[in-house]
């Protein structure tokens, strides 16, 4: 029969930290930089065209278009809340509190999906068309559509990280994937905040 010595339990050094090259984190950051530049260019073009139309005395947003701010405000609030919840997920994973981690990751994905749903619904209400000679309709659909795609990819990313957490890949010792998802989601929300202000608030 094996005899456990006190030194076995007390004197043994803690296990080495896991190897973490942080590749996912760095790769995600680079990808986010690329996405951010795509939106920066398109929003810059939007502002430039709007300024030139207004300067020439024209109307930028067609009169038949009605932009009700409420759904966009709610969408922004939902996204900001989703960041807080994703931080909660990160905290829960850091404490190996798996049930709450799953709950938080699931809630974040749900809020992301609800954002996509609300913007898609707004498309049917606003009255923008691509047949606008100023280009405002095309720009709005391209910018918000690309952002919907980005948010959709973010939801998939978060779901994937949730499954990996479920599989035991992420825990208190290694939260890299969750942090990567958080960075991606931060950029997604930040881009939406700029879209919200540039397109929907200042019109």
């Amino acid at each position: 029969m094996a005899v456990a010595l006190a030194s076995d339990a007390i004197g043994a050094p803690p296990p080495a930290p896991p190897a973490r090259p942080r590749a996912l984190l760095v790769g995600t950051t680079f990808a986010c930089a690329g996405f951010a530049m795509a939106f920066a260019g398109l929003l810059g073009l939007y502002a430039e065209l709007r300024a030139s139309v207004v300067r020439d005395g024209g109307t930028w947003i067609p009169e038949e278009v009605e932009i009700d701010l409420t759904p966009f405000n709610v969408a922004l609030a939902g996204l900001i809340i989703s960041i807080v919840i994703l931080h909660w997920a990160l905290y829960a994973v850091g404490n190996d509190d798996r049930p709450r981690a799953y709950l938080a990751l699931g809630l974040t994905a749900l809020l992301g999906a609800s954002y996509i749903n609300s913007i898609a619904f707004s498309y049917t209400q606003m009255g923008f068309t691509v047949n606008d000679p100023t280009g405002v309709g095309i720009l709005v659909y391209v910018i918000t559509g690309m952002h919907l795609a980005m948010a959709g990819a973010g939801v998939i990313f978060i779901a994937l990280m949730a499954f990996r957490t479920l599989g035991g890949q992420y825990s208190a010792r290694d939260r890299e994937g969750i942090v990567a998802a958080l960075i991606y989601w931060y950029v997604t929300v930040a881009v939406y905040a700029v879209i919200w202000f540039t397109i929907f608030v200042t019109k």
């Binding site: 760095v26 260019g41 606008d132």
Partner: protein, 529 residues
Amino acid sequence: MAMTETRPDAETETATPDPSPTGGLPRPTGGLAGLLGTGRHRSIGRLWVGTSLVFLVVSGGIGAALGAERIKPETYNNAGLGKDTLGQALSLHGVAGVFLFALPILIGLGTIVVPRQVGAHTIAFPRAAAAAYWAYLIGGSIVVVSYLINGGPDGGSQNGVDLFLASLAMVVVALMLGSICIATTVLTFRVPGMTLARVPLFAWSMLVATTIWVVSLGLLFGILVLLYVDHRHRMFVFGPNVQIDEWLRWTVTQPQVYAFAIPVLGFVGDVVPVFGRTRARLYGVQLAAIGAFAALSFGAWTFLQFRHPQMTQQALYVAAGFAVLLPLLAFTGAVVETLRGGRPRLSSPLLFAISALLMLLAGAAAGALRVVEPFHLVGSTADSSVIHYVLGATAIAAVGAIHYWWPHVLTRPLQEGLARLTALVLLLGVILLSLPDIVSGLLDQPEGSLYTDVRDGVAALNGASFAGGLLVLLAVLLFVLNLAVSMARDAEGDAVDPWSGHTLEWVTDATGITVSSPSPLLDRDEGEA
């Protein structure tokens, strides 16, 4: 545990690479299935390099045809290629030269060499790297096909134009993905002890270059999506087919065009000390110069220059045109200092390196001349002169890199005599291709448009430029011949380090090598001596 999974800031200073030849990846199967499913960075990199050389022939062939047309500038738009196809030919020449050749070959070389330079046995996200290549191959092929069905910028077929925009967007995404894999490798897969200040210059240049590429290509992707939606709905709010080129123009004019030559500096910086048989001097200056050159080559802020022609006369644009010379001169100074302190042997990689650096300097000087407003060079053939100088430097460096890193790229050495001849012909070709265009630009020859008011000497200059283009094609043929001769020979054993290199890509097993300087192998050899 694989070395590549060790944190770069770990306390140990000793490199301990994964001894398995596949770097922890499953052993590849052979044949087509092995090729299609490979995640090995060398195989993926070779595919990038090989495919980009094919697209170089496409771009070069069309460039030669355009050059032949231009010998008689008064009939430029009406002969040979025909008025309808001239714009498409010019566009395909540029698109294939930049997005299907220059960037991909650099990404290919980076995929092959960079992981080994930082001491890793694999690239970050190997499956993503493979997916990037296949997306590039498919997207690039469709780009060429879209021109063949009368699409592309200036095309007559709307579906062809739509296809061009979609396929180019696919290529752009592939290039971004490939870039992200390389940048992540440099940042996260370095062996212990290899701080960023000790990273080999090629790896460093690939890191800063891919960073610039990712953000620039991100913007280009957004523009392509916008144009696609606009053209798909036949609205043409952002311009008809003939204006698509204007939206892409910023990618091939200064300062953005310099971004495609950032790795040239890294290649030169790695080759010079090896063939100078000395340590690299002023290493910090070289790192800083490459970083500054990269920062100054970021040109996304000029993407609306066609809507604001006066932008090229603004102080910021002019200052950027001149400022880019400063890091190049600083880098050249460090290279000269390195050569001065060593005992140079004029092997082919050094010839390629010096040629590439000279052409890049000439391109930057031509660019500085171009932004001097009284010369009125913007919109003239001086534009193509700068592009040809810079992309010529990239081509010279890329071919030189294949010669230098042949154990990684080819497995068999290239003929040294033929390699030297290739370097000289390529250098002469790029000079002859580019220099006359600056002069003809001063004589008011416009860039790629209707031209009837021909001044004396322009036809001769165009003839000289055409001859330069032919010399470049001849150099490519010499290179292909050299490759064929090399491949026909049996492999010559394990020639791991034919040049007595200084950096980690020249060892198969870095176990026990301490990285305490940018030249760990030199440190090891001197320690043993």
